[in-house]
């Protein structure tokens, strides 16, 4: 049977999308829709919020309540949406710069509150929309238009950052690993507290070209060859892990109560009091 995902969950008249040929973002956007379909969510009760950047254009194509906000602030807007109406399933789509540079403060605090928002970070290691400047996830030494002699900064590990800040579900996956990615997004949405899935994307146009990473296919193959599942990595000797990156679920804690549910108890406690 042919998939009806596009007909059912996308605004077909808004396609094709603006992303460059070979960009990994479309795969991640599709995985989000697939996860929503798999969970059987009511489209009217799903709200997708984004900031600014390449990834943040995704909500415009997706047939839900969609909110394209200001740079870095998606999680702050989303917090207002979720707190005001906890019945909505709130999903934030953001990029590496949007989430961890200009929006870094909102990321750690949304995680700390454990508010029921699912954040999908489209991490392509670069500011794509502005033409290839280094981001907080650009590897040290790599090139960007603002790192012409090699990036001096160390990089953030966004999934671990979120977990350390209090997110109760945190996972990393890549645009190559589309099936596990869909599964992680599904689990992240189903999770009651704050969840984050860092989806490693590819930007052949800016990051790839500048750093001589080859074609889009070569970049996808790099994801395939370089990312090792956390469980497999535990069994591998250290020398086999050189140059490899870890993906998988870093944290899944169902014991912490979600923010709006805690606040609801306060309302029940004081409602009607003078």
């Amino acid at each position: 049977m042919n998939s009806t995902l596009v007909q059912n969950y996308f605004r077909e008249e808004k396609l094709p999308h603006i992303w460059c040929p070979g960009c990994g973002h479309g795969i991640i956007m599709r995985a989000i829709a697939q996860a929503i379909e798999n969970l059987g969510l009511d489209k009217d009760k799903v709200c997708i919020v984004s900031g600014i950047g390449c990834s943040s254009r995704a909500p415009g194509y997706m047939d839900f309540n969609t909110l394209h906000t200001t740079h870095g602030r998606a999680l702050a807007f989303a917090t207002g949406v979720k707190h005001a109406n906890p019945d909505l399933e709130v999903i934030v789509i953001t990029g590496d710069g949007d989430a961890s540079a200009i929006g870094g403060n909102h990321l750690i605090h949304a995680a700390r509150r454990n508010i029921g928002i699912t954040t999908i970070v489209f991490n392509n290691n670069i500011y794509g929309m502005t033409g290839g400047q280094y981001s907080p996830t650009t590897p040290t030494g790599d090139l960007g238009t603002t790192a012409p002699y090699g990036n001096v900064d160390p990089a953030f590990d966004i999934a671990k950052l979120a977990a350390a800040a209090g997110a109760t579900y945190a996972a990393r996956t890549t645009a190559y690993h589309a099936r596990p990615m869909t599964k992680y997004i599904e689990k992240a949405i189903a999770h009651k507290g704050f969840s984050l899935v860092e989806a490693i994307s590819v930007c052949p146009t800016y990051y790839g070209r500048k750093n001589k990473k080859g074609s889009a296919v070569a970049m996808m193959n790099f994801l395939k060859d370089s990312f090792v599942d956390i469980k497999a990595a535990e069994k591998l000797p250290a020398d086999k892990m050189v140059g490899k990156f870890i993906m998988g679920e870093f944290k899944h804690d169902e014991t912490q109560e979600e923010y709006t549910s805690r606040y609801k108890k306060i309302i029940e406690q004081v409602k009607g009091a003078k």
């Binding site: 200001t70 949406v81 005001a84």
Partner: protein, 378 residues
Amino acid sequence: MTEKNVKLLQGNEACVLGALYAGMKFYSGYPITPSTEIAEDSAVKLPKVGGKFIQMEDEIAGIAAAIGASLTGVKSMTATSGPGLSLKLENIGYAAIAEIPLVIVNVQRGGPSTGLPTSPAQGDIMQARWGSHGDYPMIALSPQSVRETFDLTVRAFNLAEKYRTPVMILTDEVVGHMREKIEIPEEGELEVFNRLVPEPGQPYMPYGIEEGDIVPKMAPFGAGYRYHVTGLFHDETGFPSNSSANAKYMLDRIMSKVNDHKDDIVTYDSYMLEDAEVVILAYGSSARTCKASVKKLREQGIKAGLFRSITIWPSPEAQIEAIGKQVNNIVVAEMNLGQYVYEVQRIVKSDALVHHIGRANGEVLTPDEIVAKVMEVL
């Protein structure tokens, strides 16, 4: 007859009671002197009426969450002061272009920068109007008393909902912190306006205007409309558009919401203006000082009058222009080094001279120095 609900309140407390009277169900903000009591009181009172309070991680998040909440259909508010307003500016522009009803309270304190955190000022007048980048409409109201803070907060919500635009309450440290006896209006005594929502079953154009309406009807997120909201220029469907013709249409439309409805939006007050030969023009707490100055000048046989802008933005243009024709001298008194005076000079088209008296050192203006200024210019 029922007993009147009389309370001794701070301006900041009256602001929260006014907001609740208007139907506020959401507050998000960040602590900052001298506005903090607004957050504290909202935190106490909102859950009692089933509303939501949240202290966000910074000022930017404070306004962002309030915008997000408003999109779900609730009346929301944020409050701040000087440095916080500077941080909120980008998202004020967002609320304006995306047409999100929102009330922003700015309890003005001495600036620039951290400035004089516990002292009054009226230094954010121009920032309130022009602070966010680009062209956008703005409504700002300035109370001079505790009761007026209550009333103008109700009004700010009404205007925000009616015109789908952010509305600012430009109060100051004096009004925010002074205590006065006020009578809380009974339910139904003041008008409360609720935003227009689409009729169920009808086709919905998120940014389209129906005949007879001033603004597009606003569907709450989650009610089945699944539309798109963006800070990019967008067409009536809500989706981004790069068309310059559309950008012009859209900007003209959002500007006209305010410009074409000044009769409804603009309010002002006056004291002994009818026979005045010199007029003192002021707003907020400074206007109270000026009233004393007018009395003193009258005692000396000088026919002085007071005009008070209650709506600061848009200005009471017709009234100020008429004053310019009535008198030869207008003295604008404000706690800054000259801001609203430029607006008054812009409006006055006669030969009347527009003078300024002000300071920005954290002290309020005194009646005597305003009297002295009037004597000097006459």
